[in-house]
């Protein structure tokens, strides 16, 4: 009795609905899609902090190393996550990376195009291919799995065939000299905050080379792109009308269409998004390595999807987050680099990757049930 009267009293006082159950902050957190990935990344850092804390993994140089790997994966994982929230897959991400690479390298090296023009060309091709993927899926109603699987083979094959036809080889080197003086290339090829690292080096806070320059010269462009894209994607998903359309398109295609969401246009734009993200990935890697390789990006589509799933995206669409995908990418990047600092044989990395994904899917499934059925 006393409990009841108390609750009525408290309702009067606060004007709150008595049916509004007190939800602990933990429960609120549980309803966020990125929770699993957040927990996972904390565990991963604790693990390597203990196992490899004194090996230089967490020095400036070591940290930038695994951040660079995470960031590269993150760029495509975020785009893949947005597409997955929109209810589709893109298996052609990896092949698109290779294709974009030669779209930059062949015109620049063999046709004498300025680098900015070939980069623009690569992005134009990405938009076209993304559009084609999207329109195929939307118009035919075929599963995107099949359509983009076909594109995986087509693009990889075309990349190899075209490169060999024009160059007689499978690699196109010689880009490095073109980067300087180019009006665009620096966007994908500049280490930022170099002054900071120089200063840190002078203060003897980070490791130096024998000539006195710091070992880590600056934040790699991939990391800047990764952070920018994470913020941009999160803003879109959470704060814009288009973001709501993405969730709606993936959550219930028919329902969304019926209330006037342009589902087809949303999906096509998301396919363009993954192709463009692949091209950003390709730009950064090609300009960093100074050469394009026809096999670049192989299997990256699966890693991107794995990172998105670990980050809380449902395979059925309508649920997920960009921050989650970013955390998923950080987990994979950290483990793939960190494993070198431990005594564990690196052969075990893929085992970890698979196990991680399996745990994530089971966990996500449980979360979805909680979200939709906590009556």
């Amino acid at each position: 009795m006393s409990v009841k009267s108390q609750s009525i009293q408290s309702k009067k006082q606060t004007g709150q609905d008595e049916r509004l159950k007190k939800i602990s902050p933990l429960r609120v957190l549980l309803n966020r899609p990125e929770l699993g990935a957040l927990g996972g990344s904390i565990l991963v850092f604790i693990f390597f902090g203990i196992v490899a804390g004194d090996t230089g993994m967490f020095s400036a140089y070591g940290a930038l190393n695994f951040l660079d790997v995470s960031a590269n994966l993150g760029i495509i994982a975020i785009a893949a996550a947005m597409l997955m929230i929109g209810g589709e897959f893109d298996l052609s991400i990896g092949s698109m990376i290779g294709f974009a690479g030669i779209c930059i390298a062949i015109p620049a090296i063999y046709w004498g195009w300025p680098l900015w023009m070939s980069i623009t060309f690569a992005f134009a091709m990405a938009v076209l291919i993304g559009y084609f993927n999207g329109i195929m899926v939307v118009r035919t109603g075929l599963p995107s799995f099949i359509v983009t699987l076909a594109m995986l083979f087509i693009l990889r094959g075309a990349t190899l065939a075209i490169t060999r036809l024009i160059t007689g080889r499978t690699q196109v080197p010689g880009l490095r000299v073109l980067i300087e003086d180019d009006p665009i290339a620096w966007i994908f090829a500049t280490d930022t905050f170099q002054w900071l690292f120089t200063w840190l080096g002078k203060m003897k806070l980070i490791a130096l080379r024998t000539d006195g320059t710091p070992l880590a010269t600056g934040i790699p462009p991939s990391v800047i792109w990764f952070i920018a894209l994470t913020l941009f994607a999160t803003w879109i998903l959470m704060k814009t009308r288009y973001g709501n359309w993405i969730f709606a398109s993936g959550g219930d295609k028919v329902g969304a269409t019926n209330v006037g969401v342009p589902v087809g246009r949303v999906k096509i734009s998301l396919f363009i998004g993954t192709a463009v993200a692949s091209t950003i990935f390709a730009c950064i890697q090609v300009l960093d390595a100074g050469s394009a390789d026809t096999m670049r990006g192989t299997l990256k589509e699966l890693e991107a999807i794995a990172a998105a799933v670990v980050g809380g995206c449902l395979l059925t669409g309508g649920y997920g987050s960009a921050i989650g995908a970013a955390l998923g990418a950080i987990i994979f990047g950290t483990v793939s680099m960190g494993i070198f600092y431990t005594d564990v044989d690196t052969d075990w990395f893929k085992v970890f990757l698979g196990a991680m994904m399996l745990i994530a899917v089971v966990f996500n499934n449980y979360i979805r049930r909680k979200v939709t059925e906590n009556k």
Binding site: D17, R19, L20, K21, W235, K239, T240, R241, G243, N244, W245, F247, A248, G251, D252, V254, G255, A256, T257, N258, V259, G260, V261, L314, G318, Y319, R368, V371, T372, E373, N374, K375
Partner: protein
Amino acid sequence: MSEYLVQFNNISKFFGKVIALKDVTMRLRKGEIMCLLGDNGAGKSTLIKTLAGVHKPDEGEIIFEDKKIIFDSPRDALDIGIGTVYQDLALVSLMSVTRNFFMGREPQKGIPFFKTFDVEKANKIAAERMGQIGIDVRDPSQAVGTMSGGERQCLAISRAIYFGAKVLVLDEPTSALGVHQASMVLKYIVKAASEGLAVILITHNVHHAYPVGNSFTVLNRGRSMGTFQKKDISREKLLSMMAGGEELDKLEVELKEMDRVART
């Protein structure tokens, strides 16, 4: 200005050789609830989709406020004020009440190219609107999957009204509901009509339709069997018309015959 808010005159729809609808005519005044009754396969779904702009009628015309209208998409129908609430409600259970309420028509704020979804305003309106029909949305950011069937139905109807529906097309709004939930939804429908909306209520449940309807149109095998005012027709007559009363009579005779044969 004619007395009717909306007229669907001699609507026909064919799918290849199949005649899904033939010469169906319905006319509605403001504040009127017309119940569209029909058995499975009578052409109800096709008619709804034609009203909603999903299908284009092959014959006939739609006249809204004395203007002839041709819909190219569901969006056109929404824009002139025909709001359709489908059986599946077009709600995404993983998304929040607010995000569902404004799905496809999110309020925005900010400068062009950087416009954001005004979540606060949306939350406020959604909670307010749901409150008006007596549903306390405990938390507008809760997932729709946590609501009851009646609440979801009311959310979908409330959304259609909020976005300017003058004609409300409801597809089987009570079919999946228990008695209490169904009466809550029906009450809300009557209230909406009393505020000046024209309502087309599609159902196969005469017991739900008869108390709330002003007029009744019966569909059978793609054709209209006529529109009746409430005073002109009894519940029983309506029931036997839509359920194919003749067929049931015939069945009864056959059963008797079988019984007789068995006995001899």
